[in-house]
């Protein structure tokens, strides 16, 4: 229905808002990837590689027929975040934290 009332095509803009919510989630993922990247390059790159995947999940969402449930995508998302949390936990525990304020400043200076 080109030129139709947008309210009829996408009531309450629910579909668009959901796609934007996926985009925000992907950006949050990227922020976490950068935070990990500062300490552990490999782990950070692994998380950074997941960002396009999360982004594309949102685009899949906006094209699905109305009756289809996003169970698989949401389950994948749950697994990804749990995996990334474990990764971040390992980086936090094993990655050598700056031993002193001087070391911290010199590293970022």
């Amino acid at each position: 229905m080109p030129g139709g009332d947008p309210e009829d095509l996408d009531p309450g803009m629910a579909r668009e808002r959901t796609r934007l919510a996926w985009a925000r989630t992907a950006i949050a993922f990227a922020a976490l990837a950068v935070a990990i990247l500062r300490r552990e390059v490999v782990a950070g790159l692994v998380v950074l590689a997941m960002v396009p995947l999360v982004w594309s999940l949102g685009h899949v969402a906006s094209r699905e027929p109305a009756g289809k449930l996003p169970s698989r995508r949401l389950l994948l998302m749950t697994l990804l975040i749990t995996l990334v949390s474990v990764l971040a936990g390992v980086v936090a525990l094993l990655g050598h934290a700056p031993a002193s304020l001087d070391q911290l400043l010199s590293r970022h200076g």
Binding site: P11, T18, R39, L69, M77, G89
Partner: protein, 160 residues
């Protein structure tokens, strides 16, 4: 229009005239099995509930995504505390005590959010009231606990 049921408590200014193709009811026979009923009796009742308004399904998905972002923010915060803060003088373990619980919480939140998403979707199908979420309470108490821990670490650091 039986399957476009609206809970009476939600004011909807428009009748549901979405642009998505309305599939015949026979084609949705298997739709119920894709969401598990708590207790696992879904298979015994293939026609349980009706397809909710797509707006509700999408809103439920966004709620899950909002909790996902909360989890990611918790992990970033935990990582930041451990890796970016200067050490507390005299309390070497201080950063880990504050940061690690945040990361653990970040791992637990999306799992709970997925479980609640399923539960909400099931309630929407049945037209039942939405079950209360446990996440706000868990988040409140954990963050309060971490704030108390931070205060303790700071006090120990100041005394030494």
């Amino acid at each position: 229009m039986l399957w476009h049921w609206h809970p009476p408590s939600l004011p909807l200014d428009r009748p549901c005239q979405h642009g998505w193709p309305e599939r015949p009811r026979a084609a949705r026979g298997g739709a119920t099995s894709s969401i598990d009923q708590p207790g696992g009796q879904a298979a015994a009742e293939p026609a349980a509930g009706t397809e909710p308004d797509p707006r509700f399904t999408l809103a439920n998905e966004r709620t899950f995504l909002a909790w996902s972002r909360t989890a990611l923010a918790l992990v970033v915060a935990g990582l930041g505390v451990v890796q970016l803060l200067p050490p507390f003088p005299g309390v070497d373990w201080g950063r880990h005590v504050i940061g690690v619980p945040l990361i653990v919480l970040g791992a637990a939140v999306p799992v709970t959010a997925y479980w609640e998403w399923q539960r909400n979707q099931w309630a929407l199908r049945r037209g039942q009231p939405l079950p209360r979420s446990v996440l706000p309470r868990v988040l409140t108490w954990t963050i309060t606990g971490i704030a108390v821990l931070s205060a303790i670490v700071l006090l120990i650091s100041a005394v030494r």
